[in-house]
Symmetry: C2
Subunit: 412 residues, 2 copies
């Protein structure tokens, strides 16, 4: 296939992670190094930056500062939660995107996000083909939730899992410090998939961690939960439960809905919160013990000081692969991971999967990896997750605090 010459645009979308900027760096570095890419543009706030003609010229950035993206959390270019309509129903946005692509001669579009972002990629790819504008579109996966299909795991998950497991280990030591009975409930992100909540089991497995873990893949029964808390309290004198924000009862109602008024975001997802305190209160009322609810909140996705080296390296590799395979002629694909080996010699290779395969589906924790009655996850889960949290990040420190990347963001 002949080399396609032109500019590229890179954008970030959806909730940030500790390593989404590592993918950004991988993609930007590969694009800046590529002869056929004439200009490397970064979109402010994802697809919205394209719609608003807010693009940054990444060639103007100091290479040293760009490299700091490897250890900088959040989305350095800004993110969005903007959902494109079906181009067959309303193509207003797509005509605008085409206009901008033509204005800057954009021939490569790299989009970094979760399943909603892969949906955006797929629609842009389809529209450009139909409009006859040659443009290679590649998706770069990102989500702490680890719920993207067709890939062994997602960049972002390993670092969030490491943050969760480390924090749970520290909380486990702190929570059991008094000689009177206490209950601690930690709320972990993950709307429909329990990969993150399951990661708390790494703490329990390798030292100290939650006694009970509840994933959204199994029906949450309040009575059974309180009974198990009481059992653990009787046995150990304290109980530490980790729950996914997305746990639901047998009717499919989020338990958090009982705790708080619920709203919906732009994608129709229910906004969750307040679950930990609600469950802690339930235990307190039933068992008469001092209880505390802790929401790990944003820190589990932005705590870059605890990022996994493996995750950073793989995130950068995913960004680089997107660019290099697009240059080689690929389009309409998402970079995915293939990890056939896990015992002793873990190895992760990239592969490409059709965007249609990755978009709009959620990969859940297999039922056979989940133990009943809040007993956590099986050894297979541990074996799956453990390689992904290995290795510490290089923490560049100035005045005792992280020195994160500061981009100039020169308008294109």
């Amino acid at each position: 296939m002949s080399k396609l010459i032109g500019a590229c645009v890179f954008g970030q979308s959806g909730g940030p992670t500790s390593v989404i900027n590592a993918s950004f760096y991988g993609a930007a570095k590969a694009a800046l190094d590529a002869e056929c890419i004439t200009r490397v543009l970064g979109a402010a706030h994802g697809i919205q930056g394209i719609l608003n003609d807010e693009l940054y010229d990444l060639g103007q950035e100091d290479p040293k500062e760009l490299k700091r993206l490897l250890n900088t959390p959040s989305s350095a270019l800004g993110s969005c939660r903007y959902k494109l309509k079906d181009p067959d129903v309303d193509d207003t946005d797509f005509r605008r995107i085409l206009e901008i692509f033509q204005k800057y001669d954009v021939r490569y579009f790299f989009y970094n996000g979760g399943n909603d972002s892969m949906d955006t990629c797929e629609k842009v790819s389809r529209y450009m083909a139909k409009a006859g504008w040659e443009c290679r579109v590649m998706g770069i996966p990102k989500t702490i939730d680890n719920d993207l299909c067709s890939t062994d795991h997602c960049p972002g998950f390993g670092s969030a899992a490491k943050y969760i497991a480390t924090s749970c280990m520290e909380i486990a030591l702190d929570a059991a410090v008094y000689d009177y009975p206490t209950a601690t409930v930690v709320e972990i992100m993950g709307r429909h998939a329990g990969w993150l909540a399951g990661s708390a089991a790494l703490a329990s497995h390798y030292g100290a961690g939650p006694d009970l873990i509840y994933l959204p893949e199994q029906v949450f029964d309040m009575e059974a939960f309180l009974r198990r808390c009481q059992e653990v309290l009787k046995e150990k004198g304290s109980v530490f439960a980790a729950v996914s924000e997305g746990i639901q009862d047998k009717d499919g109602t989020f338990i958090s809905e009982y705790a708080s008024k619920s709203g919906t975001d732009a994608f129709g997802h229910t906004q969750l919160g307040g679950l930990a305190v609600y469950l802690a209160d339930q235990i307190k009322n039933r068992c008469g013990v001092k209880s505390r609810g802790i929401e790990l909140s944003l820190l589990q996705r932005c705590g870059a000081h605890l990022a996994s080296r493996t995750d950073i390296d793989e995130a950068a590799m995913a960004g680089m692969t997107a660019v290099n395979t697009a240059i080689a002629g690929e389009t309409g694909k998402m970079v995915a991971f293939d990890c056939s080996r896990r015992d002793g010699t873990y190895a992760c290779r990239t592969k490409l999967v059709p965007l249609t395969e990755a978009a709009n589906y959620e990969k859940k924790v297999p039922q056979e990896w989940i133990l009943p009655e809040g007993r956590g996850v099986t050894r297979e889960f541990i074996r799956y997750a453990l390689p992904l949290i290995q290795g510490d990040c290089e923490r560049e420190v100035k005045d005792g605090l992280p020195r994160f990347a500061k981009l100039k963001k020169v308008k294109a």
Copy 2:
């Protein structure tokens, strides 16, 4: 003064910190090395372990495992919040303590905690003198709150400040990621003293951090707070506020009391919580923006993976000094820090202060170090706090997770 020969007891009290075990290690190592100390005992759950005759023989521990205490959060021996009565009113507990001291020939008592613990120390010291039992009593300071008098700062504060500043920096990057207006409120520990909340300013000063910071030393005015939020929102598009859990209105009512039902702990302190979400809701209602409340909760006191090297070293030094000065003849004192130099060449030396001076008083942030209208703290505060967060801890890792100390806890 002649050498006093006998056993020693070491105990931990009050809320744990990331480095209270470093003081434990410093004291245990010095005691185990001392010829005149015949046996080194650790009390389970502080003074309660003495009352219940639950003492561990620390001579039985593996020295390598003991050394891991330098990087292990929480109170490895267990803690308590038990308040001794005035011995002149009710000496029941003191007679029991004397009985146990006589049983094990305890001639040295080292107690590690905050102002309530220094009060315990002082009462034990006074009673033993009156009872004619020669026993040297030394207090080792500990509190993330940094509110102990007569010392430049407290072991535990630096690590909590480092955790808070680092986390606030990461949250600041994450919270401003979308292009629509958002409000983020982070709740930081500190009932009456704003040292911890003020530490969030280190993040703002050295990169990214809260726009607004509220300390309990100044009256909190909800109207003024919401007005400031609105101003920052107009100026920046998003607002990030850090508040101390202990902020109060002009009538002295904790703002958190408006948010939650309040109870009291054994010391009559009001139990606080739910403030961040409450304030986030207030901003949402007033300014009509998406808001999020984050409580740093236990992690700010147990996040040992972010402990300050300076804090660890000083905490160990405080423990060691307590033992060595007691052997040299001191009693009824608390180890304190003297840090005359801060510019360029920070130096911290130990000194001894009477227990009566340290107990039951709270050191607050000087009014002249606090800027009005939530504008944070002055350069003097930054200059004070900055040396205390310097240096990263050695993080021993196994399977990607912290390898914390595991004591055998052999009953004496």
